[in-house]
Symmetry: D3
Subunit: 247 residues, 6 copies
């Protein structure tokens, strides 16, 4: 089974760490292909970058040559998953939803700890749309930017643990979700320090994608995610997206 794991920003080292985290949890026969968009921002921390990432991920996945069985969109709280679901016949799993969905099997309420304060409402909105917010105790910001996570993982762990403990104590969370693709790999350390289950979205998404493939399940094509109708697309420079109807 081959799973494409698409980073949402153009920072290759982050693609690498996301792919490593994915491989870490992947089953024996699963091949993980990390994809970096060919355009976009070096990190996504707001709607502008996120919308750019939405089509960058579609472009990247449509440009991938060779077969694959599932796609993971590895940005936390980002736009675009619905577009991929329309364009593809294989299952699409977003790490925001994968993590929330997994957390709900582990405790009565979960909290998300993410990067900057400004991204909190984006994540809240994604969870609300996904219908996975009823048991979300809070979304908290660690105050660290996406790229700072990589630069200083120790400080990142510190800042995330602090918010995780507040989430458990004040917001009554029982499970913590890591709210950024760039936090991949930090789950174990945070779990040890916060004494509650810690869910990494990339890992969760890999297991869900594998499961869907194993059960022979993929996106319903009856209404919302039906293949796009044939359109005249003009002005767009990349042929992959230009002719999605062939996908």
């Amino acid at each position: 089974m081959r799973i494409l794991v698409a980073n949402v920003n153009t920072t290759r080292s982050m693609t690498d760490s996301i792919a490593a985290q994915a491989r870490h949890v992947a089953a024996a026969g699963t091949e993980i292909i990390g994809l970096t968009p060919r355009f976009g921002a070096d990190s996504c921390e707001g709607n502008f970058e996120s919308y750019l990432a939405a089509i960058a991920v579609m472009d990247t996945v449509l440009s991938y040559e060779g077969p694959y069985d599932a796609v993971i969109q590895a940005g936390y709280g980002e736009h675009g998953r619905e577009g991929l679901q329309e364009l593809l016949d294989v299952p699409v799993v977003d790490i925001t939803e994968a993590a929330a969905s997994t957390a709900m099997f582990l405790g009565h309420k979960y909290s998300v700890v993410t990067t900057l304060d400004r991204t909190v409402p984006l994540i809240e909105d994604r969870l609300k749309l996904a219908g996975l917010d009823a048991r979300c105790a809070s979304v908290r910001a660690s105050g660290l930017a996406v790229l700072e996570l990589e630069e200083d993982p120790e400080r990142a762990v510190e800042a995330i643990v602090e918010q995780a403990l507040l989430a458990v104590r004040r917001d009554r969370a029982e499970v913590i979700v890591l709210g950024c693709g760039g936090m991949a790999g930090l789950d174990e350390q945070i779990r040890l320090r916060a004494s509650v289950p810690v869910v990494d979205g990339v890992a969760a998404a890999v297991t869900i994608a594998e499961s869907l493939v194993r059960m022979g399940l993929s996106t319903s094509k009856v209404r919302t995610y039906a293949t796009p109708r044939p359109k005249t697309i003009t002005g767009w420079p990349w042929p992959a997206v230009d002719t999605p109807a062939v996908s």
Copy 2:
């Protein structure tokens, strides 16, 4: 006052009819500038086209030279409004929200009549996120594609009226919202036939944009819609979007 009214698809005749509708309701001193994206689909009827439109509208607005006081995103149920709000200092009004917000002053519940069945969930999702769904009785599809509206307006009126009447009778709506930018200008005929107030999103958005400007109000920059942080954006062909920080 100058208001940019951005169509979400590349069909110029639709930009023209949207701009005409906007001018029809605009106050004496208001100049309406219709914008057509330089890339994208000829109509938006799903998430893929809508995500493409999201950045196409950002590109188009950022490329506009000369001053303006407000921006209207004239696609019903489309993605992207949040990105524009981050990038701009002037008010941004989405016609989906403008129409719903206006309808709520006119009756206890409203229904949206849109184009194809597949776009219904997109509109429901936008209204849910906007927090304007509590008094939405239903979103109904007329069964006509976006471009069919222009080709055969008489048939369009017929199909919309049929759904409007069902919305009033069965779903208990008291106001009808026209759920497509391409329906601009049909409101009067449908109002006469359905005997309830009919709200056109383009008209509603123009009055709201004018009002915000007159009151000296614009998007809050404290958190969600703060100006994007400085990023390294690579691979993107259009300079306007490439350097949003200067806007």
Copy 3:
């Protein structure tokens, strides 16, 4: 265009300041008529006064001789708007809803800052019924009574700013709504001090009323707000309300 702006209490100086605020934002051709109820309390700070105000406003508006194009009910969180909508054919705009609706175009969440703690639940209830509560971060009390606002505007600004800053920081509001008709005119000062958009309900209501009139839209008469059925009304001393069917 002539708009009646009905104060909900009997304090004429408050009617004057509300009308002044309305005139400040009104379009060139709009005439603002301030109305003071001929019975009721000198300020509304609870359900008893508010219910009295509900019919006092109906009485005042029905007693107004001469034509008008729209009516604004200028009490924040008060009862009665639905009654006016039944009795009149012109648009009716309540400042509670006008402000909330406007605030939602300006940020992800808004908070209301009102007068006394005891009025907070009334405002919450009105927003809930209006279906405008999903993005309301909080309703906060400044601790000042309605009439104290007029007596000491400086202290009022101080107290409102304090709560506004708490709303932004703790409740994650991005926009502030002034939750009392008596706060009309303070918006600019608070905006400067709180650094977020501040919405005054009277101003918002004027622009919305003007917009509805311009678009030729008024209250739907199909169900909830249909003209009252002919009734035998006895014991009521004021003829205006006694014979609403003629309005």
Copy 4:
């Protein structure tokens, strides 16, 4: 124990039948006093009449001389209960809420069958505000006006049973609530024909009022329903309401 049961309209025969229903269920030591407002409409079927009734009931209750232990507002879906709660120290029970609250002990979901279609949204709004709507399957109209219920009880039973059966079958209700004070006394016949529990609001309210008195419980005075602040009330012709602070 003495309970005041206030009709909301001026039709004395309806006060009588409501009081009879109240006496039918009242405990041995309970005295029921039926009150008819001294002003208002002969029936309430919309917001205008309902707002008039709100203060008419307050006036009537405040004018009552002699002691009493609880007050029942016997109009289904009407305004005003919050005002009474502020003005009085004894428990106030609204039949809309009493019936819903009782129905929830009897089945998984309940439906209300009321009079005219136009009153359905008013009842929905009251239940929403009361937080008793989560298990309300539907509010259905029998199509009969309030005064028609009295004129032709047989036809009334027929029309109510028809809607009750639809509520059970289509809306999945398991309990029926009679949605009009004027339906008092019809519960037994409808129960026999619809084969589900039928709750009459007047009866339910009497038992709840008695229970609160027996438990020594009354309205909390800490915030929302605190006694009205001293006000200067002008222009109001009835002394009872003019000086509520003494109550």
Copy 5:
């Protein structure tokens, strides 16, 4: 009228104090029978004990010989009420719901003060399912275990009052509900100290059960709570539960 009041744990002294509280509020002609389960835990403070209690209560009630008119399940936040409703033809009242339902007649919002932190989510879940959570301000833990309440009532009052005051001040509750059957009898002291109405679930349930019986109302048998279908039940040691179809 005879009402069975079933304790959910096996501590007889607690059954006694619950029955005493029930008798304290019961009407003249009402006989209260306290039942102690013949198996289960000495106190219920979690799901495991609560599920055991669910069937222990069913067993106890089904084993009761002689007629009765209503059953009260006297555990706060426990499982099982739905099963009793299926098995019995007489009304079943759960103290969790009785207290919440009663509190809603007394103030705008209520809070529950219970025993241990770990039981808070169970109570929240029961209120959510019952559709009585919309006006619940908070569920707070006093930190005392169920059996500690009996051992040291003075300390219990202290701890409950502390949380009650926080609920009123911070969570904006206006009424306090005692969230444990073992708190029966403490309501008066807490009311005096917290200055808000305090609802005891056992007392509330008794009055509601009496009221339902008086009105001739009992559980609807049309769907959810229809008598269990005939089943082959094996391996269960107690005949009462083994043959529920005869009940």
Copy 6:
């Protein structure tokens, strides 16, 4: 990895078919152990049987000797999962939640098709509590009892497909969930006939349990699902449940 799959009824042939379905989807190294409760009803179609099953499953799992890595509760819409989570340190997955959670990755809305009409509210309640109901379009009954599914699978497929098609067309579902453990193995046929993804809860639960184990995640023990406090449990005949503290 060893996963216990606990049937909720005492019908061994159903345990066998559930275990077969589990093995069908299980990964190479996963051993599936089917467990049949030693007491309870031969099928669960209501709250009484379901509550009995809740503790029967706890008894069965606690009585299992030898190690295991996860537990699946294989009854659709049944009580008890929270108790297991308290008692065990390994992950517990309920098929109701597993199926809903999986369906949400496959379409905008899902519907459940279950057995009898009377079980619909139970399933709705479980989904509501699990916070997985926001995207549930409907729960529909096929009209077949649990044991009829086994007796006549062809008729079962027919009846389920009929409701599935109605769910897609009328309720706007895009994915179908099989709402009964006894439907295990029918998914493929229904998928072919209904042309939408069909999720079997047992299969979904196996993949989720495996995933949790692989990620080293299990139930949070900080609050709701902490190990039961030490209790004196009396009268209960089975030692396994009697001494849960040792587990």
